[in-house]
Amino acid sequence: MTFLSKVIREPLFHFVLIGAAVFGLHALIAGDDGEDARDRIVVTEGRVQQLAQVFTKTWQRPPTPEELRGLIDSYINEEVYYREALKLGLDRDDTLIRRRMQQKMEFVTEPSDELLRADDSDLQAFLDANKAAFRVEPRFAFDQVFLNPKKPGAPALGRAKQTLEALKATEDQAVLTRLGDATLLPVSMPLSPFSVIVSNFGKAFAANLTDLSENKWAGPIESPYGLHLVRVTARVDGYDPELAQIRDGVAEKWRAQKRDAFQAQVYDQLRAKYEVVLPPAAEAPSGQASVP
């Protein structure tokens, strides 16, 4: 609120407030004097403050007196139209307005922060009930040499077998950048979750990694790109993590569930206030229409 207190101390702000008050007063007096009973539009201090604040947040400086006057005029203009439109009932039967109202109700019925604060026992219970959703995937790191079946010349399978022998026969790592065909696929995949390997090399390839022993060249394994000789260099099995490791993730899903349940509950209560009458032809799907 430092910004607000700064604004409140501004002489300009006081000037504006007085202006707004005079304006409001004028509207009031004019309203009383008029032959027709006129409605009043009172521009409150808080409203002026809000108009100025939005301007300040947009442009990172307070409005000049002329700009503020412009904001107030435009607010009055909007208010006049808004009220006249309401009188004419223009808010009714407008999909846009109806849906906006619905959305506002959903906002209003969002559970409070208080309700969405979980303690460890809530979260532990939630984690226990949803173990599968939080399971940490197995991870693998591996090296791969690629053989492109589309390359003209000797068939890739034959070359793969020869290359496998060459790889097995040497400790020299330099061969990794000499053997095999060019590819954008990485020569060496750092320790990565199973799903990342699936999205880079395909499902079948990833599934095959599970059976390979560590630090031994094997293959060829097929991917959507061609053949690969593979050496798994590291492997971490999947596991069910402790709450402490994944507290934020569990809390987020717990809140989402809580939020949905809360809104459903609020809706049911609101819905219960209505008796819904349907035309004979439109049968309710699950007897909902009989709810009083």
Binding site: L4, T44, G46, Q49, Q50, F55, K57, T58, Q60, E67, G70, L71, S74, T95, L96, R99, R100, Q103, K104, F107, V108, T109, P111, S112, D113, E114, L115, A141, K150, E171, Q173, A174, L176, T177, R178, G180, D181, A182, T183, L184, P186, V187, S188, P190, L191, S195, V198, S199, F201, G202, P224, Y225, G226, T233, E252, A256, F262, Q265, V266, Q269
Partner: protein
Amino acid sequence: MIRRMPASWMIPGVLALGLTVPAVAQDSGTLTEGDAAKLYPDKPVYSRYAGRDFPTRPFFGDTHLHTSFSMDAGAFGARLGPREAYRFARGEQVTASSGQPVKLSRPLDFLVVADHSDNMGFFPDLLAGKPSVLADPTGRKWYDMVQSGKGADAAIEIIVAFSHNKFPEDLMYYPGTSAYKSAWQKTIDAAEEFNEPGRFTAFIGYEWTSNTGGNNLHRNVIFRDNGDKASQVEPFTVYPPYGSDNPVDLWKWMKTYEERTGGSVLAIAHNGNLSNGLMFPIVEAFGKKLDSEYAKTRAKWERLYETTQTKGTGETHPYLSPNDEFADFEIWDKGNLDGSVAKTKDMLEFEYARSAYKNGLKLAQELGTNPYKFGLIGSSDAHTGLAAMEEDNFFGKTTPQEPSPERMLAAFVDNKETGVKIMDWEVGASGYAAVWATENTRESIWDAMQRKETYATTGPRMVVRFFGGWDFQPSDAEDRLPGHTGYSKGVPMGGDLGAAPEGKSPTFLVAALKDTIGANLDRYQIVKGWLDADGELHEKVYDVVWSGDRQPGDDGKVRSVGDTVDVANATWTNKIGAPELITVWTDPDFDPSEPAFYYGRVLEIPKPRWTAYDAKFYGTEPLPDTVMILQDRAYTSPIWYTPEG
């Protein structure tokens, strides 16, 4: 992520540079060889893999997704808000607004929820954890109800009090102050909640929706920053008194934001195909003649261009590129956004990316800066909260266009006065943004966008490399580490070639890898545009590498790859095409005195369009002329050449 580099990865005889891609955003925004050299360590290191800090994989995402917070999306019936949008993009199953379950084939790496800034609105944020609540007796009562598990009852009571002006005054503030939360703040909160550095990036952003006269000049604004900075501002709007429909004013807003908060923002111009000739002006904009200030400012803030999305693709148009047989792709050329003004041919030049690149070369000579030196991305512009842009998993542009037996039969725009009619089947299942960033964080992805190391895809997640330099050799295409070679000897997409060495022509190391679960690749093309000494602009499309043993014809063009699509069954096979394409190409027509740009275009083999999957699944009879087959594709950001002096 753990990076384990075995110590045995030593390659004798190979000198390697520890490469670093600059995270520093330069004013020119493009990476030149000179700049790159400065950022490399002085001493070459022995291991090619040490300090390997260049991007090794592209991150895929959507920079333009609307949720129910956008007034039009809400009116269309969208119920999913930013939180659900992030959850879906992260790979989880959600229930679409139309009630159907939906899930992506694979998670996206990042998402920008970009709701319209106009009419985002304020919402009462009653009781949300305010200490003053407890001091008030009514507040205390509600608090106790919440505590004792009667939260829903409390909510109802609060609503009633609110609606009857019986809400305790002490708990009440005015809109814009703390008891009202703006939709903007809620948007920021959702991004903060779902941003998970290293795994999933949830960007803060919004769409500025300049649409005067129905001409679409929208821009998406993306923050590099976290919520602490973004919440210091209100997003820029179009309607007075706070906003303006002139992009020049948006750039002022961006400048102000950066100066006051120390933050960083960039803008992505919306596909210009519905701007009716206003997206890329060459003479004047908003009644003001283009000048050097306009060119400089636009180039500084508008880093990227959305070249493909659900409302059509804007790379080029058959009228502008009559010799480009692949130009006729997902074209929307009937009018502006609301169909209020029909399109005329003379507008096309000023709303497609390729012609803007060409005109940019000319403007650079006139104004001193090329205002149209932007990179390319694709995005969805879906108004459903669902970034689902795969042909066989397409959830439409708006909620009524989510999968249904009727969705390919209705009209999307139907303006009886002008005769502009766009059918729902013309909506494209496109696209995504691919970004070559070093890691999956707001900072790293944003920096890559800022230096334009990006490409557009019309849906598939193909991996595309595009490097330009003066010294690439044919043998570089055989290298096991094309990325490494590319960064060592040239500049990546979005970069500048720099001065031409005597007697040399630009060389390009290009490579593409098909989507793991997608269609094979047909060809990799390089599109070149240049300005000759007489001030004439030219363009040419070169086939540089393609699948199979096809030979180019006399016109230099490679014939069609063929077609395996079975429309009735919505299937195709990868019997044709290639999973991977790689080559080194040298410009055969280079003239060092002519400014030029080069960008890559990668075509998949033909496959069923979303309409074919729909027809198969629902048994819907398509309307006559419905397009049922397409060749999805990728477009890279260009590499530019500017003669010295």
